[in-house]
Amino acid sequence: MADVELMTSPPIAASTKDEDLGLLKEVAARTAGISRLEMCIQCGTCGGSCPSAAAMDLTPRAVFALLRAGMREEALKSNTFWVCVSCYHCVVRCPQSVHIADVMYALKSMAIEANLYQDSTAPDFSHTFIGMVEDYGRSFEMGLAGIHYIKHFALRLPGMVPMATGMLTRGRMSLTPKRIKNMRQLRAILNRAKELEAEE
């Protein structure tokens, strides 16, 4: 009994919460294509290449280290993958050919599921966007930006006005998107796809 106690009571220093060593595999499995995530040698090429690294709380490399360590919460609540701009610099430079950008997408969806993110701006933007796509089959980014600004950066709206009007007067922005003809088909496909994704 006592031994068991001893064995189960952890040294204070070590982080013990939700350490699961399957995490890395899990992420790899949820990534499109063959991620090669397990091949990361922590060289930092990704973090060095990233144009938006300045805005990241953790560099991609650091996130991968957390995944390897099985620290789910720490990894998923970082803003790294939300700030990722999908420029693929890291992907083409990675000496281990890790599909970094696609891992980022996988992490986004995992963070949303786990409801782990500090700032809802980015996830919201994605949701507004796909909401629109699921309703119309098309997107109209400027209208989208407008909506998004109203929600998150109301203060900045005045600054937006000249641009918005400019866009409107030039017919570069509309308030309703076109709707595709066969919306029923698209919805059916997306619904089936969602079921299939859920099966994982």
């Binding site: 040698i41 922590q42 060289c43 930092g44 090429t45 990704c46 973090g47 060095g48 290449s49 990233c50 690294a53 300045a54 953790l58 560099t59 490399r61 650091a62 610099h89 083409v92 430079r93 000496p95 281990q96 050919s97």
Partner: protein, 671 residues
């Protein structure tokens, strides 16, 4: 093939520790063989921890004597590892060594299969195959051929120089073939060598000179091997000696021709593109031999038909514009390949800006820059030729450990970069940053050297450099090269402005290494490095008897390792020369004359010209010394009149029957 008395076969199954026993039930295999193959002549079947150990061998020898075995099957590792061992064991016990057959149940079974029962039954089948095969073995006497005492060394870098001198000093003839105008190789381009920082030229030049002057060395620079024929002990090599356009017998190497030559050319080889040479030139002052060569592609005379300045001024009329290439043929017994490496071309990594950003230098460029005999007399300056850098970034692993370029580690770059850091610090006092993924400072005194450079205040930043750019984001970056990198230990992206960047480019196989390998009939790894006979136990021999490799041709390595390998290869060659003759595997083809109808199907099939047709008797004959034992003619003879020892039809067919367990009642076959 006739077989002597009735077969008494011993079967020996090796555990190889757990290497085999971990997957294959060796005990079951042995029992099975003893029981099921008894009617095929198996009188004893044993299993043992390590058959290759002296105890294991004694076990076999004892059985041969006591049980009067006349055939032995050893189920263990690949014959390429231990066939010799067990043949010797048989010989010790008075049995002809060729009455032994090896079955590879490690490389072909336990190491590659996971399903234990499947692996075990495969092992049984393979043993059965071995037993059936060995029944058809016949005593053979190895063929011995004399070894020609001369040796060919290809490549005049430090590895080649070392092996040439070792052999020459032992009193044997050596031919050294070098395709550049002088020997010396890459080492001649360096200024200092790590970790001792002694002057490269100072330690290399004496060796070069003794190669040039050694009575036993025939030095052929500006030359290339075109053809290699024959086999161990008896190679016949065709060498093209390119026209120097200089009469070597008259030339004194005074160098006046170079002075007078009006044509300046960028020297891409010796000066790594950082300096100039003339159209007639010796690459560097200490060149061996001292004779210059004429660069026909760039010489004004060959372009325009006039000039001949060199000829006018040559005091000994040594210039010969009409000189032609010479084709030489030499006989040698052994060959050492020390063809070296190429530097990775950093222009391939466009985000490092080499070739686009003037002050990004390659490692070889920096070697020249820092070399007292180099274009700047050892002054470390920017591309403008005068400005001394105040901050320098040194990038490790350029083109190495990177699946986009070369996936292997180039071994020398870490120490080289640390050496650069020291030289820069010493010559300029600049702030030095080294960017690394891991510091690999194995081997004697290397880590100490690293420690010393740390003391000098070099900033080591752990992170693979992402990009080098000249586009400033802030004022402090104006006019600088910015090295963008993640400092993985700080976990932050950093942009470090510097005046100069040195790319520690990796090593890669010679562009033509595969072609060269073909000429000499050895094999290359997928990357293009030459493959050694055994990665641990036979690092300088190749699969091809009589051909050895040394230096970077075999894989990236530093100077001490290259020298050691050069010497090792020489020792192997000397060993062969001392044997005076070499025993060839008695795997040979021969013709049964009264079955040969002289149809001449086989006559055109032998690339070694071992097959000849005797018009008078209208039969074909095979010269055993020339025959390499490939067996193509054996397979081709329509009359079955050609037999091949060691791999006879009977042996192979019997082995197939055995593998398919045709020798056992189907009922008894273990699924």
């Amino acid at each position: 093939m006739t077989r002597n008395q009735e077969e008494r076969i011993g079967v020996y199954v090796c555990h190889c520790g757990t290497n085999i026993a971990g997957v294959v039930d060796v005990a079951q295999v042995a029992e099975w063989a003893a029981a099921k193959l008894q009617h095929r002549g198996v009188v004893i079947a044993r299993e043992y921890k390590f058959m290759c150990s002296s105890l294991g061998q004694e076990l076999i020898e004892k059985d041969i004597k006591e049980l009067d075995l006349n055939r032995v099957v050893v189920a263990a590792c690949s014959p390429h590892l231990h066939e010799k061992t067990f043949r010797t064991a048989c010989a010790n016990a008075g049995l002809n060594p060729f009455m032994c057959e090896m079955v590879s149940i490690r490389e072909q079974v336990s190491w590659v299969h996971t399903d234990k029962s499947a692996a075990t039954s495969k092992a049984m089948a393979m043993v059965s195959g071995g037993v059936e095969r060995v029944r058809h073995h016949v005593p053979l006497e190895p063929l011995t051929v004399p070894i020609h005492p001369a040796t060919l060394v290809v490549g005049g870098g430090i590895a080649g120089i070392q092996s040439a001198l070792e052999i020459a000093d032992a009193g044997h003839q050596v031919y050294v073939v070098e395709r550049e105008p002088s020997i010396g190789g890459h080492m001649a381009q360096f200024d200092k060598t790590f970790p001792t920082l002694d002057c490269s030229a100072c330690i290399l030049t004496p060796k070069m000179v003794s190669v040039g002057t050694h009575p036993n060395v025939k030095l052929l620079t500006w030359s290339q091997v075109e053809k290699v024929e024959g086999y161990v002990g008896n190679f016949s090599v065709t060498i093209r000696k390119k026209a120097r356009k200089i009469k070597e017998d008259l030339c004194t190497g005074c160098g006046i021709c170079q002075e007078k030559c009006p044509k300046k050319v960028i020297d891409d080889v010796y000066e790594a593109g950082l300096g100039y040479r003339k159209a007639v030139y010796t690459p560097f002052p200490q060149a061996v031999p001292k004779f210059p060569v004429m660069d026909v592609a760039n010489c004004t005379y060959y372009e325009k038909g006039t000039c001949k300045a060199c000829e006018k001024f040559c005091p000994t009329d040594a210039i010969d514009f009409d000189q032609q290439d010479e084709i030489l043929n030499v006989q040698v017994g052994n060959i050492i390949l020390a063809t070296g490496y190429d530097l990775f071309d950093a222009r391939r990594i466009s985000n490092y800006g080499y070739g686009r950003l003037p002050n990004v230098f390659s490692s070889l460029e920096f070697e020249r820059l820092s070399n007292a005999a180099g274009p700047t007399n050892g002054q470390v300056v920017l591309r403008d030729g005068k400005t001394i850098p105040k901050s320098v970034g040194i990038v490790h692993c350029v083109g190495s450990r990177d699946r986009n370029y070369n996936n292997y580690c180039s071994v020398i770059c870490c120490m080289q970069s640390i050496k650069f850091a020291h030289l820069v610090h010493e010559r300029t006092g600049a702030t030095v940053y080294n960017f690394y993924i891991d510091i690999r400072a194995a081997f004697k005194d290397y880590d100490e050297f690293y420690q010393r450079i740390l003391e000098e205040g070099t900033q080591f930043i752990r992170g693979k450099v992402a990009e080098i750019s000249d586009v400033p984001r802030v004022a402090s970056e104006e006019g600088k090269l910015i090295i963008q990198v993640e400092d993985t230990l700080a976990g932050k992206q950093r942009r470090i402005p510097v005046d100069m960047v040195i790319l520690s480019s990796g090593l890669q196989p010679r562009a033509d290494s595969k072609a060269t390998a073909k000429v000499f009939g050895i094999s290359c790894s997928a990357n293009g490095w030459y493959i050694e006979k055994h990665p641990k136990l036979d690092p300088v021999a190749t699969m091809t008897e009589g051909i050895f490799i040394a230096g970077c041709a075999q894989g990236p390595k530093d100077i001490p390792a290259s020298v050691a390998q050069g010497a090792a290869a020489a020792a192997r060659v000397l060993g062969k020369i001392e044997q005076k003759e070499v025993a060839l595997e008695p795997v040979r083809a021969s013709v049964i004359e009264d079955q040969c109808s002289g149809c001449r199907i086989c006559n055109g099939l032998c690339p070694f010209n071992a097959i000849s047709f005797l018009e008078d008797r209208m039969v074909t004959e095979i010269n055993p010394a020339l025959c390499q034992g490939c067996g193509t003619c054996v397979a081709a003879c329509p009359a079955g009149a050609i037999v091949g020892t060691g791999f006879s039809n009977e042996q192979v067919m019997a082995q197939i029957e055995g593998l398919m367990l045709m020798n056992i009642e189907p009922a008894e076959v273990i699924a």
